[in-house]
């Protein structure tokens, strides 16, 4: 038994060495930015904008002359923005379009000469849809990669889990997650771009009222998303004279919801409202078709991607839901402020990535990226100044999700314009009448 223990100690020491190696691994990317101005330089050197090459090209020379990172040289280093998304795991249908979008925007902004001639570098981190890992990944972006601001994370739970870290580290965060709790109460450093559920639910409730549906059968998924939808609906429904005649829930991984639907059907509602994301949301619609339920079905913005239509098939037809305008960009009236922005985003995204992943989620990241980029233009590379600029500079900013106006008491800043009712007809999204 003598040797084993000693060997164990040496193993622990080896482990410490391994930790050192990790440190070294994470340290290596840090010097890269010093040489990084080179890669953006050829990107900036597109024939269209030869002027942009000049400031970028001088950077390596300058930093070579003053390796001690004197102030002018440091300011010419690329602006680093963190992208913290659930690229893998259960929420990857949110995180993948978000990552794609910020990579696309990084490329576009650098082609146009960056921000005030300084290139932008996105540092992407994967949260694996896991809150503990989101905390570690956020810390890494802040301390190791030294980003100026973070866009993301994708999920509400992740955003709330890193909130404390963000506030302590004093770095601006523009979350791509929906929960109102992220910005209510307002936290100094945290903003968010998606519509709050209250806004979405209000749009749906108004629509139901206008159509004369008063008895509602409610089904929601038992996770943060469905929970929040339920709470907001319970708040908004009485004001519009709606009554909930049945209330059911199901699991995110359930493969059959007929039992709950049978109970909802028995309550004989005017309309059924489902609050979930695919695949569960698609299963509900399929079960509705199988049970021959004739009442109209309304779903949430959670089905605002092609995945729902693929999974539900013909059962998707006739489903109406409140969502951002991206899905029906082409059929918006020409006077809509967002139409041009939406069409350009959709065109740019589908040219580079799988069109099936084009979704409002990517739009949330688009908004986050541009809110940060526009503020950086004013503030320069300083976290505190950048935060102030995000708060004071974002006024009537036309984004993908809606039109944003931030203030010290409002860190989401969207209004009714951010939501529209969409119907699925023959497997396509159209404006709901």
């Amino acid at each position: 038994m003598k040797q084993p223990k000693w060997l164990m100690v040496s193993l622990l020491l080896v482990l410490a060495l391994a930790a050192l190696a990790v440190g070294a691994c994470t340290a290596t990317p840090t010097p890269t930015p010093t040489t990084a101005p080179k890669p953006p330089a050829p990107a900036a050197a597109t024939p269209a904008k030869p002027a942009a090459t000049a400031p970028a090209a001088t950077t390596p020379a300058k930093s070579a002359a003053t390796p001690a990172a004197s102030k002018p040289a440091a300011s010419k280093e690329p602006y680093k923005i963190g992208g913290l998304f659930a690229i893998t795991g259960p929420a990857s249908s949110l995180g993948i379009p978000e990552r794609n979008t910020v990579q696309l925007l990084e490329e576009q902004i650098n082609q146009q000469g960056g921000i005030n001639g300084t290139p932008v570098k996105m540092v992407i981190a994967d949260t694996e849809s896991d809150e503990t890992k989101a905390v570690l990944a956020a810390k890494k972006l802040i301390d190791e990669d030294k980003v100026l601001a973070i866009v993301g994370p994708s999920q509400s739970g992740e955003s709330l889990a890193i909130a404390d870290t963000i506030e302590k580290a004093e770095i601006p965060l523009v979350s791509a997650a929906a929960s109102i709790k992220i910005v209510d109460p307002v936290k100094k450093w945290i903003f968010k771009t998606p519509q709050s559920d209250s806004l979405i639910v209000q749009a749906l409730v108004d629509y139901l009222k206008a159509k004369g549906y008063t008895k509602i059968g409610w089904l929601s998924v038992s996770n943060a998303f469905g929970d929040s939808g339920k709470v907001e609906f319970e708040k908004a429904a009485p004001g519009a004279g709606l009554t909930t005649v049945a209330k059911e829930s199901f699991g995110a991984n359930d493969t059959d919801v007929t039992a709950q639907l049978t109970r909802v059907k028995a309550a004989n509602p005017d309309a059924i409202v489902v609050w979930a994301i695919p695949p569960a949301a698609a299963i509900v619609s399929k079960n509705v078709a199988q049970l021959g339920i004739k009442q109209p079905v309304f779903q949430s913005h959670g089905i605002g991607n092609k995945q729902f239509i693929d999974l539900a098939g013909t059962a998707a037809n006739g489903v109406r839901f409140p969502v951002g305008k991206l899905l029906v960009a082409d059929s918006l009236s020409g006077s809509d402020a967002q139409k041009k922005v939406l069409q350009e985003y959709a065109k740019g995204y589908t040219a580079k990535f799988d069109a099936n992943t084009l979704s409002t989620f990517g739009g949330h990241a688009w908004d986050g990226f541009w809110i940060v980029a526009k503020a950086l233009e004013k503030s320069g590379p300083d976290r505190a100044k950048l935060r102030d600029a995000i708060e004071s500079n974002t006024k009537e900013f036309v984004g993908i999700t809606g039109v944003f106006s931030f203030s010290p008491t409002e860190h989401n800043g969207l209004d009714k314009r951010a939501v529209t009712m969409v119907e699925i007809k023959d497997g396509k999204w159209v404006n709901a009448e």
């Binding site: 164990m8 622990l12 691994c25 795991g89 810390k139 709330l160 909130a163 943060a224 929970d227």
Partner: protein, 354 residues
């Protein structure tokens, strides 16, 4: 033995004490904080699984109970965090005692299924008891820890707190392992019937060690709650139970030091992979982590069934023995003296099983 432990422990103390000065970044320190929290879980499971031989696939449930008990008491009822941590530990221990009685009537695979079920029940309760736990939307407002006006707000302070407790648990566990109770536990692991024949009250010891490991997990959970200051059910799901199991298996089932090693190796590996895999394979993400863990687990189980630490030790011992054996046989062949000597003595298999 005692002397050896003392040296190893002081070495550990020094290494852990110095680490934050080597890795000063808040990111590295928070990785080490999570290693500490995982280590507490792994040490507890190691006692239960490695020594008493009782499989648990629901260890995350105790972690979750501790975290939520602390979180609810402090955030909703404004109880002092330290008192809450103690109450959480007592509560979790009580739960362990209550479920231990019926659970340990099960053996082997059935026990694994029973603990799995327990884990799922607790998870669903965390999700569905919305009024108490905040449900899927989570529980906010868990305060930071402080003592006599000294707040554990900086990562480095929290690091020392977590590791102080982790090392305390390590010492406690070493004492348990090297005591009469430890021998009783190992006898249960060896053969429950034989142990009972020798007058060991197997049920009593099994429940006791379950309570100990549940309390460790509960304290780890409380520390998690006060560190992240936000709780939601996903981190306390089945996935964590499996991760802790992997830590214990990698570290070596029959070594409490191994549990720390396993926790560190798993957490570090997962952090390194998340950073490096997307760099090597563009477009790839965290899913490769599972592949790598799967491969490691398979390799460890096939070639080092006693875990990476003791497995490596065995390999070294076997290598030495074989070297000695080779010398012996060569001498024997040179002398043409003995025929029919088995090349591989039977003792070798005994060593492997060690």
């Amino acid at each position: 033995m005692r002397h050896q432990n003392r040296i190893i422990l002081s070495a550990l103390f020094v290494v852990i004490g110095v680490l934050p000065f080597v890795f000063t970044s808040s990111y590295h320190i928070s990785v080490m904080i999570f290693i500490g929290i995982h280590a507490m879980l792994a040490i507890g499971l190691c006692l239960l699984m490695g020594y008493a031989g009782q499989v648990s696939l629901g260890h995350a449930a105790f972690f979750g109970l501790g975290a939520y008990a602390s979180g609810i008491l402090t955030a909703s009822y404004h109880v002092d965090p330290w008192l809450a941590m103690g109450l959480a530990a007592i509560f979790t221990g009580l739960v362990a005692f209550i479920i231990g009685k019926p659970l340990f009537r099960l053996k082997g695979n059935n026990l694994a299924m029973g603990t799995l079920g327990f884990g799922i029940i607790v998870y669903i309760m965390l999700v569905e008891m919305t009024d108490l736990t905040g449900g899927p939307s989570g529980l906010r407002g868990v305060p930071s820890l402080s003592i006599f006006g000294f707040t554990f707000d900086k990562d480095i302070k929290y690091f020392y707190l977590v590791w102080a407790l982790a090392l305390l648990f390590l010492i406690l566990s070493l004492n348990i392992v090297n005591s009469r109770v430890g021998r009783a536990l190992r006898s249960i692991h060896g053969s429950e019937i034989a142990a009972e024949m020798l007058g060991v009250d197997t049920n009593k010891y099994k429940i006791q060690i379950l309570i100990v490991s549940a309390v460790y997990a509960s304290v780890a959970g409380s520390l998690y709650a006060h560190y992240v200051t936000f709780l939601s059910p996903p981190p306390f799901g089945f996935k964590l139970s499996i991760e802790v199991l992997v830590m214990v298996v990698i570290g070596g089932l029959s070594s409490v030091y191994g549990a720390i090693f396993g926790a560190a190796a798993t957490t570090l590996l997962s952090e390194t992979l998340r950073g490096t895999v997307p760099k090597l394979l563009s477009g790839a993400g965290g899913e490769y982590e599972i592949v790598v863990f799967g491969v490691i687990l398979m390799v460890v189980m096939i070639f080092m069934p006693t875990g990476l630490t003791s497995g490596t030790l065995n390999l070294v011992r076997r290598w030495r023995q074989e070297k000695a054996l080779r010398v012996e046989t060569r001498e024997a062949e040179d002398g043409n003296a003995v025929t029919g000597v088995p090349r591989v003595p039977e003792g070798r298999t005994a060593i492997e099983d060690n």
